[in-house]
């Protein structure tokens, strides 16, 4: 009897106590959340599949093997209209990567220069930097791209009156043309020599640092490495008998043919993204430097350090840990903004995907590919920047 009463009373008691148990409630809410998310995804998927079937649209990624049938203006790897859709996407991805890579480098350099210039004691320089920042960060990126595109095309001469540049280069509104280097036999040894020189320089740097820590004596490792990196490949090049010829651009009926060229679409997109993002980076840099307490500079001054040493060894390292995290966001923004390329006819991943979407009707698959690509690009950038941030973070003892 007693056992019965206990067993019948127990579940009621434990149920009411479960409601008031924060941990049980937490688990309950999480289960509900996961279940509703799963349900949502399931409904969306089922609905999509159903609608695709109804509209008689084939799904799956098999279409990537099909013949693309369209041409692409800018290509880093070989591609013709006979290539597959998959290869077309790859061409687009490489174009996106190119513009993002060069854009990030230029934007960072320009941003740092402008950011530091805004802190300059030179009134004119500071105001110029301020004007730059205010103009570029207050204009939507698409307009900046249009500005550069129309500007680049309008200023540059027509193909028939190309500006002749030194070393066999030409500049017109079809792009920048320069001779294409054709490397002869054994050229890999020059690259190998460069690799050896770089490796040797790293060793020299490490050795010099250790020696300075041990003896206090400095070694001009910078000059030594520079000499090594230039002289070693140059000597190899000469020893091989200069195996290098050039394919020069020559005037054709419509335009220059031969050589290599960079189109105005790439130039304008690259410049626009660099200038636009640099204005944000400049502000981040200024903020980062401003955030280093004045006492740090004063303390360094009191130790008798020179101004450039103070900037390099005291201010910048401390500013960097404030600068890097928001800098990562700007790098990601630049990469994502490169999707505006289609406005000026640059064949990035979105432009190529858009064409494919119209030709094949495989909207779901292509949008999914876009998402995955941008997500991976962003995560890779973030991963690298996090590693860099960890390396630059102040090591507290």
């Amino acid at each position: 009897m007693a056992g019965d009463a206990l067993s019948s009373g127990k579940p009621r008691k434990s149920f009411s106590s479960l409601i008031y148990d924060p941990q049980a409630r937490g688990i309950f809410y999480q289960v509900v959340t996961v279940a509703s998310v799963a349900l949502f995804v399931w409904i969306i998927t089922q609905n999509t599949i159903h609608n695709l079937e109804k509209a008689n649209i084939a799904s799956g990624f098999g279409f990537l093997q099909g013949r693309a049938g369209f041409d692409i203006g800018q290509q880093a790897i070989e591609y013709t209209s006979d290539s597959t859709y998959g290869r077309a996407l790859l061409v687009g991805l490489l174009n996106t990567l190119q513009v993002a890579f060069f854009g990030i480098i230029t934007a960072t350099i320009l941003g740092f220069l402008v950011g530091i210039a805004r802190l300059s004691h030179n009134w004119l320089l500071a105001k110029l930097a301020q004007a730059y920042v205010e103009i570029f960060r207050n204009i939507p990126p698409l307009l900046v791209i249009f500005f550069w595109y129309k500007g680049v095309i309008a200023i540059l001469p027509q193909a028939r009156d190309s500006v002749v540049l030194p070393l066999g280069g030409f500049l017109n509104n079809r792009g920048l043309f320069f001779p294409k280097a054709i490397w002869g036999e054994g050229s890999w040894m020059i690259v190998a020599a460069l690799g050896v020189a770089i490796a040797a320089s790293i060793v020299i740097f490490k050795w010099a640092r250790a020696r300075q820590a041990r003896t206090g004596q400095q070694f001009k490792s910078g000059w030594t490495s520079l000499g090594l990196i230039i002289l070693l490949p140059a000597a190899t090049f000469l020893a091989l008998g200069a195996p290098l010829t050039f394919d020069y651009p020559v005037a054709g009926r419509f335009n220059l043919s031969g050589g290599t060229s960079i189109g105005p679409e790439f130039i304008s997109l690259y410049l626009a993204l660099s200038f636009y993002t640099a204005s944000f980076i400049a502000e981040i840099v200024r903020g980062g430097i401003k955030a280093v307490p004045k006492g740090q500079t004063e303390a360094a001054n009191a130790l008798g350090l020179r101004a450039n040493i103070i900037t390099r060894l005291v201010v910048v390292p401390q500013a960097m840990r404030i600068i890097i995290p928001p800098l990562t966001s700007q790098f990601l923004n630049l990469t994502k903004n490169s999707s505006l390329a289609v406005a000026v006819g640059f064949a990035d991943i979105v432009a190529v995907g858009g064409t494919m979407l119209n030709q094949t009707g495989q909207a779901v698959e292509i949008v999914a590919i876009w998402l995955v690509i941008y997500l991976s690009l962003s995560l890779t950038t973030a991963l690298f920047m996090n590693w860099f941030n960890a390396k630059m973070a102040l090591v507290e003892r």
Binding site: G73, F254, G345, Q359
Partner: protein, 351 residues
């Protein structure tokens, strides 16, 4: 509980409403398709689907009056049905809206440079027969380049709009002829046009009729010309709903009457004279033959063709006025010439 009931009632109301709308649309469509001619006569005017403004085809002028080759087709139908070419109304339709408008019976006939394709003929439930403009993809180039044929375009930079069949036709054409080119692809027509205008491209490609219209928007239209090559087929013509053969015949024969008139040399100016003194086939067509039943068999009056030619003109006049050399578009007859002159315009015999 109450809430549930309400939503149920709401749902039912919605169902009834949509069913009613569906029935109404169906009813309208079936009524319209059963006897479009009777409907048109009853309302006193013919309703044609026009564009939002395509120069030379259907375009409102600065006075708000519609003009163009497609509008003249519509006027021809009005002249045939009512003997008065002014009894028509134009509904401006975007390319997206045009098919539902015809399906639902909002317009009696779609005269809006629409390409005749098999899927439109079958799955959309329309009928096409006459082609009042044979279009096709072409190339616009600067005269200063001194190019006379598209086959000389190897190495050229070509401006093209993204994601169109134009882009594919372009790749196919250059590949088939073993020519090299550099495509510059834009999302919007306006961007592509301005890039071409600023000299970024040597060539602009789209449908030829579009090229003539784009040419007018350039800074110096006279310094640009359209090459003779046509690399795709875009037959443009009127569409009607399936299931009303009488209306379909009337719409078709309006065009054939205009084409035959040009072949016979009947114009809006000499039509009265021709009616009296022309040969037997001319008299038969214009309804001057004794005891003719050609017009009444169509459901019209016997002077239907006379009215079209008198008030609208023959095909050549319509072409000349809207898109030909005396219009701003300055399009040559090309494949739109009469079959007797090496073109594709051919009117079946009227007898």
């Amino acid at each position: 509980m109450l809430k549930n009931k309400q939503t149920k009632v709401g749902k039912m109301k919605k169902t009834i409403l949509s069913a009613a709308i569906g029935a109404a649309v169906l009813g309208l469509a079936s009524a319209a398709s059963a006897a479009t001619l009777a409907d048109v006569k009853a309302k006193g005017f013919v309703t044609c689907g026009g564009s939002n403004g395509i120069p030379g085809f259907s375009n409102p002028n600065d006075k708000g009056e519609w003009s163009g080759i497609d509008i003249d087709y519509c006027r021809g139908i009005a002249a045939a049905v009512f003997g008065d070419a002014s009894k028509f109304k134009i509904v401006a339709l975007s390319s997206k809206d045009r098919f539902p408008a015809l399906q639902s019976g909002e317009v009696d006939v779609l005269t809006r440079n629409t390409t005749w394709t098999i899927s439109r003929d079958s799955s959309l439930g329309f009928n096409f027969r006459t082609v009042n403009y044979y279009d096709g993809q072409g190339f616009l180039v600067k005269k200063s380049l001194n190019v006379k044929s598209a086959l000389e375009l190897s190495g050229a930079a070509v401006c093209v709009q993204q994601g169109t069949t134009t882009e594919l036709n372009l790749a196919d054409y250059f590949k088939a002829n073993n020519l090299k080119y550099n495509p510059v692809v834009f999302e919007k027509e306006a961007d592509a046009t301005s890039a071409y205008d600023s000299g970024r491209c040597d060539v602009y490609t789209t449908d030829q009729s579009g090229l003539y219209a784009i040419r007018l928007k350039l800074k110096n239209p006279d310094e640009n010309e359209v090459l003779p090559e046509v690399i795709s087929k875009e037959p443009l013509g009127p569409a009607v709903r399936q299931g009303d053969d009488q209306w379909f015949d009337i719409v078709s024969w309006v065009h054939y009457a205009m084409v035959n008139a040009e072949e016979f040399g009947i114009t809006s100016k000499n039509v009265d004279e021709m009616k009296k003194s022309g040969g037997p086939d001319i008299k038969r067509m214009l309804g001057a033959e004794e005891g003719t039943k050609i017009g009444t068999d169509l459901g019209l009056t016997n002077d239907w063709a006379y009215n079209i030619i008198k008030q609208v003109g023959n095909y050549g006049e319509v072409f000349e006025r809207n898109v030909g050399p005396s219009s701003p578009l300055k399009i040559k007859r090309g494949i739109n010439a009469l079959w007797t002159k090496g073109g594709l315009q051919y009117g079946p015999p009227i007898r």
